[in-house]
């Protein structure tokens, strides 16, 4: 099957600065695909290259097989939801939504009809004749969404569309966006720096850093099997321990933990020597059968969880999360505890 968007060896340079280094990505039709990374990682640049707002220095961008890298934005059958919405201030809500259809030469009756249905879809029918300035942030966001979907794009691009909303609204919109994507069957490419947003909505995620795609995978892949230090550290909380790798074979490494215990764990690297081990804080239990021993420094109450901040015997800081269940006794600060690693809790990373 032809990919909805196929990016091949895409490079973006601004003078001597390289913003994107040879990016290769293949985004399937009907996929909710997220570009995730910290600010300055190149995710927005890549999105703007797909939309046509940035030139492609080298490489190809294929949309259902056609190279669109050199087309002007108004000739690309993709639409964008902008970070600050960019609604046309001098037009009513419905005229905003109908604008793309008008530019495509759709007749007035048809476009008004379709724009009306789009507003219905985002629950804003009652606001059709208002001006955008009279709407709340969340409502403007929905208008931007309806406007971008009205021309029935082949791919919808979303540039951090939720970042200007408050937390409650943001959470509600996540569910709604995902639902909308499933209902319309349109491929969504979503840019965000918020990993929770990425994890809750996406079919697949590309984690980016410093102009490179670090890893592509499902939420579970990148959380549970990060390929390198950056991904492990950026997605969720993790403990990174520097360990000595004694042997690696078939993707399984034997490492020596600080304190002397040996551990076999999945490995993303095939080299021995000193590497980083990622241990997720929620994959540990307090136990006599300890892989690691630590001294508790502080216990933070988080409602559903207890966060225990401790220090390993070697002096490395270490965090664990315990479910706040009635049968679990919270450790006291100063107590020495044994930590047992669950199956698959640890993973050896490439640098």
């Amino acid at each position: 099957m032809t990919a909805a968007v196929e990016i091949r060896r895409a490079v973006k340079r601004y003078g001597s600065v390289t913003a994107l280094h040879r990016v290769d990505l293949s985004i399937a039709d009907n996929e909710f695909f997220t570009l995730l990374g910290p600010s300055g990682c190149g995710k927005t640049t890549l999105l703007r290259m797909i939309a046509g707002f940035e030139d492609v220095t080298e490489g190809e961008i294929r949309l259902f097989g056609d190279d669109i890298a050199r087309l002007e934005p108004n000739h690309r059958p993709v639409n964008t939801v902008f970070q600050h919405y960019a609604l046309f201030p001098h037009m009513s809500v419905i005229d905003n939504v109908a604008f793309g259809l008008k530019m495509k030469g759709v007749d007035a009756a048809t476009r008004r009809d379709r724009a009306g249905r789009m507003l219905e879809m985002v629950h804003l029918s009652a606001f059709a004749d208002r001006s955008p300035a009279q709407l709340s942030g969340g409502q403007q966001q929905r208008v931007a969404l309806a406007r971008a979907l009205a021309p029935d794009p082949k791919v919808l691009l979303l540039d951090e569309p939720l970042s200007a909303l408050d937390l409650k609204l943001r959470q509600a919109m996540r569910v709604e966006l995902k639902q909308l994507q499933e209902d319309t069957g349109i491929t969504f490419i979503f840019v965000t720096h918020d990993q929770e947003e990425a994890l809750t909505m996406s079919d697949r995620i590309a984690v980016m850093s410093e102009g490179r795609v670090q890893q592509v995978g499902t939420a579970r892949d990148i959380y549970e099997a990060p390929v390198n230090r950056f991904v492990a550290d950026f997605i969720g909380e993790t403990n990174l321990l520097e360990v000595e790798v004694e042997a690696v074979a078939g993707g399984v490494a034997t490492v020596a933990l600080p304190g002397g215990h040996r551990l076999t764990c999945p490995s993303a690297t095939s080299a021995t020597g000193r590497h980083h081990l990622s241990i997720r804080p929620e994959r540990l239990t307090l136990s006599q059968d300890a892989d690691l021993t630590a001294t508790v420094e502080r216990v933070v109450y988080l409602g559903t969880d207890l966060q225990v901040i401790a220090r390993l015997d070697g002096g490395t800081p270490f965090t664990l999360r315990l479910q706040n269940a009635a049968r679990v006794a919270a450790p006291e600060p100063g107590a020495r505890v044994g930590l047992h690693l669950e199956e698959g809790a640890a993973r050896l990373l490439a640098d």
């Binding site: 108004n74 964008t80 960019a86 604008f99 793309g100 530019m103 971008a148």
Partner: protein, 305 residues
């Protein structure tokens, strides 16, 4: 987004008594510089002309009658509409409209260019635009005349490069008046449009392009409507003074380009003048301008709602 204003604390009450005294300078300035002169002019337009200039305190509608009505050379024919002055008005409106159009045509791209430069070079461009305004308007208009006269640098250089055989008779033409008005008032067009374009959110142009608008459609559908207040302000600022201008038509034009400003100017010169008539022409001009401005203000108010 109109929220409720801040509540008035006790401190506001204490200052309330100071508002009137503090506004006094404003009222004095407006009173002395605006209300008094306009009132004087209104009164003069109803007085009787005295020979050798000046007025007699005898109230009459003669000045307005002279403007609108003719009774033949000796005043003994039936009353008819006097077209002389209405023609001058019509010509002035046409000239001012042309000058406004020309300023818009050149001023909009200029303002756009300046507003899209990097922030630190914009100041330099604006400064360059305003430099000619450090020189008196009369001097600038006379220099323009020297530039375009038959033995001036423009004609001589055109002839030197062989583009023309004989000098173009530019002085005393409509074109010269247009050039004068354009040169006098261009910055009044550039500055408000610059201010509007500078505030323009270029993401709107991206959004339009994303929604299949060509560059031309983006300009027509998005850019122009959004920066319209700046364009309208610029047009008013050029049109109104062009309408009453007398230096450019006087120095660069001839009998066929006689405009309102020159007509008024004549009425206050020497013994040929007619003060009440000059005042009446000024009143008519001012009421016309007021009507245009009020209509605009009403249209703006409606659009803003």
């Amino acid at each position: 987004m109109a929220g409720p204003g801040p509540s008035r604390g006790p401190a506001d009450a204490a200052y309330a008594g100071l508002v009137r005294p503090l506004l006094l300078p404003t009222w004095v300035v407006i009173g002395i510089l605006m209300v008094v002169p306009v009132a004087l002019m209104a009164v003069y337009s109803f007085l009787t002309k005295e020979f050798r200039g000046g007025v007699e305190w005898d109230f009459t509608l003669a000045a307005y009658d002279q403007f609108f009505v003719t009774r033949g050379l000796f005043g003994d024919e039936p009353a008819q509409i006097e077209w002389t002055y209405i023609t001058i008005f019509a010509r002035s409106i046409w000239q001012a409209a042309l000058a406004t159009g020309l300023c818009l045509l050149i001023g909009f791209p200029t303002a756009w260019f300046i507003a899209t430069r990097p922030a630190r070079t914009r100041g330099v461009w604006l400064f360059l635009i305003t430099i000619p305004y450090w020189v008196n308007l009369l001097i600038r208009t006379v220099s323009l005349k020297f530039l375009i006269r038959e033995t001036g640098p423009l004609n001589e250089s055109l002839m030197a490069i062989g583009l023309i055989d004989s000098p173009l008779p530019l002085v005393n033409t409509n074109l010269a008046v247009q050039l004068g008005l354009f040169y006098s008032y261009l910055p009044f067009m550039v500055l408000p449009i610059y201010a509007a374009v500078e505030r323009y959110n270029f993401a709107l142009s991206e959004a339009a392009a994303d929604l299949y608008a060509s560059r031309w459609a983006t300009l027509r559908e998005i850019v122009l409507p959004v920066v319209r207040p700046g364009i309208v302000a610029g047009m008013i600022l050029v049109f109104v003074p062009s309408l009453g201008a007398f230096l450019a038509p006087d120095l660069l034009g001839g009998a066929k380009t006689f405009m309102i400003g020159s007509l008024i100017d004549e009425q206050f010169k020497g013994s040929q003048g007619n003060w009440p008539f000059g005042a009446a022409v000024s009143m008519i001009l001012m009421s016309m301008v007021m009507v245009v401005l009020l209509a605009y203000a009403r249209a703006q108010g409606r659009a803003g709602r």
